[in-house]
C-alpha cells in the first residue's frame, strides 16, 4: 500500500533539468537576506503599523500598547515569528546552505575555512536551541490568532462590511501563515507522530493517526508554505506602510 507521505519518483523531464547548485543558496541569500533587511528597517524605524482598520502583521498583536510603550512597538512581537522561522526545519536547510555553506549544495565541497573549525551541527549554542522549535510554534499560534482577528477587522470599515485590496492581502496572508504553521514538523510530531502504534487502544485508527496523516500531507509542502507566507507577510506590511505614507489609497472593491 502506498504511504501517504512518500513522494513518487520524479518524472523523466523533471530529472533531466537540474539547475546549477548555486541557484538555490543565491535565491535564499537574496530573498531571506532582503526580508531581514526590510524587517530591520520596519521594526527600528517605525512605531506604528496601523492604517484605519488594517494592522500590519509586524505590529500585531499590539503588545507594546498593552504595557504603554510607544517606541519600537514591533519589536515586542517580531521575535516570535523570527524564532519560529529560525528554528523551522525547512529554513534550517535554507540558511545552512545559503548563509553558512554547510554545504552550499549537495556533494559540493565546503569552503576550506570550514576544515579548520570543528563541525558541531546542532549540538552547540545557538543551533541546539532549534530543539525547542515546538515552543516557538506555541507562541506562533498565539500570534496567528491575533492575525486572524486583524483579518476579520480588515473587512469591517467605518460604514460596515466592505472589501478593500488590503482586506484581500491580509486574508491571503492569514491563510498562508495558517498553512505554514499547521504543516510544521513539530506539530506533526505533536498530533500523532510520536506514537508508534495508532491502533493499540481499540484496533481502529486513532484521532491522532487521522490528524498525523492530514498534517503529513500538508507537511510535504511545508517549504512552499514557508516561502509563500514570508512573501505574503512582506507584501502585507509593505502595502500598509505605503498606505500610511500616503503613496496611494486603498482601492475598495465593494
Amino acid at each position: 500500500m502506498a504511504q501517504p507521505m512518500q513522494t513518487t519518483a520524479p518524472s523523466r523531464k523533471k530529472a533531466e533539468k537540474h539547475l546549477p547548485y548555486w541557484v538555490e543558496p543565491a535565491f535564499t541569500i537574496v530573498a531571506l537576506g532582503g526580508f531581514v533587511i526590510y524587517a530591520i528597517w520596519e521594526v527600528f524605524w517605525h512605531n506604528t503599523g496601523t492604517y484605519h482598520n488594517y494592522v500590519s502583521p509586524f505590529f500585531s498583536p499590539g503588545v507594546a500598547g498593552w504595557f504603554g510603550f510607544h517606541v519600537l512597538t514591533a519589536l515586542y512581537v517580531v521575535w516570535v515569528p523570527f524564532l519560529f522561522r529560525f528554528s523551522c526545519y525547512y529554513y534550517r536547510k535554507e540558511y545552512f546552505r545559503g548563509f553558512f555553506f554547510h554545504p552550499a549544495g549537495c556533494a559540493v565541497a565546503e569552503p576550506k575555512s570550514h576544515k579548520t573549525r570543528p563541525y558541531t551541527g546542532e549540538r552547540r549554542f545557538p543551533f541546539n536551541l532549534n530543539n525547542l522549535h515546538r515552543y516557538a510554534w506555541y507562541l506562533a499560534v498565539i500570534v496567528l490568532i491575533f492575525l486572524w482577528k486583524d483579518t476579520v477587522q480588515a473587512f469591517i470599515f467605518k460604514n460596515g462590511f466592505g472589501v478593500g485590496l488590503g482586506s484581500i492581502i491580509l486574508l491571503i496572508n492569514a491563510v498562508l501563515l495558517t498553512a505554514y504553521t499547521f504543516s510544521c514538523h513539530a506539530f506533526r510530531n505533536m498530533v500523532g507522530g510520536r506514537k508508534d502504534c495508532f491502533s493499540c487502544a481499540n484496533g481502529k485508527p486513532s484521532t491522532g493517526y487521522k490528524w498525523w496523516r492530514r498534517v503529513s500531507s500538508w507537511n510535504q509542502f511545508h517549504g512552499a508554505w514557508a516561502w509563500a507566507s514570508l512573501f505574503s507577510v512582506w507584501a502585507a506590511d509593505l502595502y500598509i506602510r505605503l498606505l500610511i505614507m500616503g503613496v496611494f489609497h486603498d482601492p475598495r472593491l465593494f
Binding site: Q6, H102, C106, A107, G121, A186, G193, D196, F198, S199
Partner: protein
C-alpha cells in the same frame, strides 16, 4: 554511424590515480553501467566496478556521476548527450580500486544499531496503517549514496560522531515499529549523533528509492529526542507519571 559518448573514468587506487577517457557508442536506453561494461569488455579489462542486479535493487553500483552520487545502473546516458560523463567512486569512503569504494564502515555501524525487540510475543498481528510509515524505510537498498552525500561524513569525516542518514532510517524503522519495545532515543541523542545533522536534505535528494529520509525519518527522530531531552513541560509530565513503565533503553 551511432553517436558516441565520452566517459572519463577514474582509474587508480588508495595511492592515487586519475581520470582516463573512453569513447563508447551510444545506444537507445543505455545507462552508465552499460557504458562502463562496454569499456570493461573492449578497452580496459582491468577496470574495477561493483555491480550486481543492474535493476536499481541491490544498491551495489553507487558512484559519482559528474559529481552527483547516483546508481550507475539507474542513470541514463541520454541525460548527458553532448557532454563528457565523469565517473568517480564515492568520495566519502576509501577507494579500493577504480570505481570500487570500501563501504565496510557502514557494516560496522549497522552492528551497533539495536535490532528489533518485540514488545509482545511473536507471532503478532498489526494493522496495515500502523506499518505504512515504516514500510517506506524498508525500501532502502543500502546503496549508501545518502552516506556519501552527507556533508557530516563527506566534508567533516565525523564518522566517529554520526552514524549517517542510512542508519537514521534504520533506527526510525525500529523505533516507529508498533510492536518494538526498545528505546533507541538515548542512543540517537548521544552515540548515533543525530544532532550532527543540520537537515540540509541532501540525503533525500540523492536517494534512488525516493525515501523522504529527512522529513520522515531524521526530523521525527529529532522530535523524539526533543521530547525526551529538551522539552521541560514533557519532563514535568514524565516526573508526575513516574514510575509508569516506559520502553526499555537499548545501548548497542
Amino acid at each position: 554511424m551511432s553517436e558516441e559518448i565520452v566517459l572519463s573514468i577514474f582509474r587508480g587506487d588508495a595511492a592515487g590515480g586519475q581520470e582516463v577517457e573512453y569513447r563508447v557508442p551510444l545506444t537507445p536506453g543505455m545507462v552508465v553501467l552499460d557504458a562502463v561494461h562496454q569499456v570493461q569488455a573492449h578497452q580496459a579489462q582491468d577496470l574495477a566496478v561493483r555491480w550486481n542486479c543492474k535493476a536499481a535493487h541491490c544498491g551495489s553500483c553507487g558512484a559519482e556521476i559528474n559529481g552527483h552520487p547516483k546508481l550507475l545502473c539507474k542513470t541514463r546516458l541520454d541525460d548527458y548527450v553532448g557532454e563528457t560523463v565523469h565517473i568517480r567512486p564515492m568520495q566519502t569512503f576509501p577507494i579500493i580500486k577504480d570505481l570500487v569504494a570500501d563501504v565496510s564502515w557502514n557494516f560496522e555501524v549497522a552492528k551497533k544499531v539495536p535490532a528489533f525487540q518485540p514488545s509482545v510475543p511473536v507471532p503478532f498481528k498489526m494493522q496495515q496503517f500502523d506499518v505504512d510509515r515504516i514500510q517506506e524505510f524498508h525500501h532502502c537498498i543500502e546503496c549508501f549514496l545518502c552516506q556519501d552525500v552527507c556533508h557530516v561524513l563527506r566534508d567533516h569525516n565525523a564518522k566517529d560522531q554520526y552514524f549517517g542518514p542510512r542508519f537514521m532510517v534504520k533506527m526510525a524503522e525500529f523505533e516507529m515499529h508498533p510492536r518494538d519495545g526498545g528505546d533507541r532515543v538515548p542512543m540517537l541523542a548521544h552515540e548515533a549523533g543525530l544532532n550532527m545533522c543540520n537537515v540540509t536534505k541532501c540525503c533525500t535528494e540523492v536517494c534512488p528509492q525516493h525515501i523522504r529520509i529527512t522529513d520522515n525519518a531524521i526530523i521525527p527522530l529529532k522530535e523524539r529526542v526533543a521530547d525526551q531531552y529538551w522539552d521541560p513541560l514533557r519532563a514535568l509530565f514524565r516526573k508526575k507519571k513516574a514510575p509508569a513503565a516506559t520502553g526499555q533503553s537499548v545501548q548497542g
